[in-house]
């Protein structure tokens, strides 16, 4: 591919190497699965599969990791990743809160109860993020990009999620109260404003930490630095500035809501995959209360191709694979295979991610990102608890031989 037309004459662009095998394999996978979804379900599912694919590419090319963003703030006192997340939350809530309350039928926000289950679940998830090496979206896109360690994390993420689904009914009976949509108290504009104030205060705190440590605040991550490559090449092979990733992720979540009727979520699919695997080996999942509730029961009984989080996750995995192939970096992070304590960190972290996500009503995407985009109080509680858990996870990383 050649995008030299966008470069000023006389500038020699560096040679662009593409991993043709990975790109071809990802494209064939997208075509096969997309075709199957088209034939067997409905066009809106194909659209969501495509949205998942683009989100996977955006997460990979934007290197949009929630886990590293939080760790960079704590360890290196650098806040670019954190600020990007705050910008993403603000932009998305500006789009999605009015959408959800526009009166259009069939749209449901990501709201959830607030209680012990949420606090403990998100706290465990925060620890798991740092030990497992990624959050919900981070685990998926790095697996798609061929990271072996993250495959281990994903397997135990799924196991933890299923275990959490067995315990969630008990946790729900502990102290807690029904969901609190901020719109009910403040109205649509008021809820957006209150959230902006909250996000602004966090941004101020992040900037203060960074200025105190370095005397300045990094802004470069938001800007496009690949001028020597041209826009098209940067778009296809990365690395994107955070602003591009923010726009795509916000649009992707809004499209997911518009097309599928609910905001973007990831970890519920892990529950379904794990429960289906247990059923194959003879476990009757309907003996557990969680799997008798309407939505989980429907998802378990029917095809994964009719489950929106599953279909979007498939797209995300293949999208990240495609992006890694275009960047010629597939499997790059796996030159050193996880052994010993690093392997143990992936196991323990994965289990905590899965169990925590189920008790906390989702991961950084379903509970935090989509929760704030739905102006739900639970998302803010999730944010605070997961950040505290993350602080502990960061302290535990050296014991597991993980660099900070």
């Amino acid at each position: 591919m050649d995008d030299s037309a966008v470069l000023p004459s006389g500038i020699q662009q560096p040679q662009w190497q593409v991993d043709r095998f990975i790109v071809s394999t990802a494209l064939v996978g997208l075509a096969l699965l997309g075709g199957l979804i088209w034939l067997e379900t409905a066009p809106f599912m194909v659209a969501l599969f495509a949205v998942g694919t683009v989100l996977g590419m955006a997460l990979y090319h934007g290197a949009f990791g929630f886990t590293a963003g939080w760790r960079n703030l704590v360890v290196k006192k650098r806040g670019a990743g954190m600020r990007a997340q705050l910008l993403l939350f603000g932009l998305t809530s500006l789009i999605m809160v009015p959408m959800l309350h526009s009166g259009q039928e069939g749209l449901v926000g990501a709201v959830a109860p607030v209680g012990l289950s949420l606090v403990l679940g998100s706290f465990l998830f925060g620890i798991g993020m740092q030990l497992g090496g990624g959050c919900g979206s981070g685990t998926l896109f790095t697996v798609g990009a061929g990271n072996i360690r993250m495959v281990v994390t994903l397997v135990f993420f799924i196991a933890g999620a299923v275990l959490g689904s067995l315990h969630l009914p008990w946790w729900l009976d502990q102290p807690g109260f029904d969901p609190v949509p901020l719109v009910n108290t403040f109205g649509i504009s008021g809820a957006i404003l209150v959230q902006f104030v909250g996000l602004g205060l966090i941004a101020w705190w992040v900037n203060r930490i960074e200025r105190k440590a370095h005397g300045n605040v990094e802004r470069g991550e938001l800007l496009w630095k690949g001028q020597s490559h041209g826009v098209l090449r940067t778009l296809l092979s990365g690395r994107w500035p955070f602003t591009w990733a923010i726009l795509i992720l916000a649009a992707g979540n809004a499209l997911t809501l518009g097309i599928g009727g609910a905001p973007w979520s990831i970890t519920f699919a892990f529950n379904v995959w794990g429960a289906k695997a247990l059923e194959v080996v003879g476990v009757n999942m309907s003996q557990f209360e969680f799997w008798t509730w309407d939505y989980p029961a429907m998802a378990l009984k029917d095809s994964v191709l009719t489950n929106i989080p599953s279909v979007m996750n498939f797209g995300l995995l293949l999208g990240a694979m495609l992006a890694a192939g275009l960047a010629n970096r597939f499997n790059e992070a796996s030159r050193n295979r996880p052994e010993g304590r690093q392997f143990m960190a992936a196991v323990v972290g994965g289990l905590m991610l899965g169990y925590g996500a189920r008790l906390g009503f989702g991961c950084n995407i379903g509970a935090l990102f989509s929760g704030i985009a739905s102006a739900s109080l639970h998302a803010w509680v999730w944010f605070a608890s997961a950040f505290v858990g993350s602080l502990i996870g960061i302290r535990l990383r050296p014991w597991f031989r993980l660099p900070n």
Binding site: Q17, A262, K301, N331, S334
Partner: protein, 69 residues
């Protein structure tokens, strides 16, 4: 160059086998589903193309704490 077998950090065969296994699992799951039965012309099957429970209190379908005994 990453395209050379010597330098490639992964096995092409392993990638293809892994993806094929995932595809087979997805197809196997679909073939035993109500949606496939419905698409094949079998009546009296309840499909769940729009899996949604608008009365639930959380995205995972959990009920509200206030409704629990």
């Amino acid at each position: 160059m990453r395209g050379n077998t010597m330098d490639r950090p992964y096995s092409r065969a392993r990638i293809l086998v892994l993806l094929a296994i995932i595809l087979v699992l997805i197809v196997a799951d679909h073939l035993r589903s109500p949606t496939f039965a419905f698409n094949s012309g079998q009546g009296n099957v309840e499909t769940a193309l729009t899996q949604k429970d608008e009365t639930a209190c959380a995205p995972c379908g959990a009920p509200c704490p206030s409704t629990r005994d």
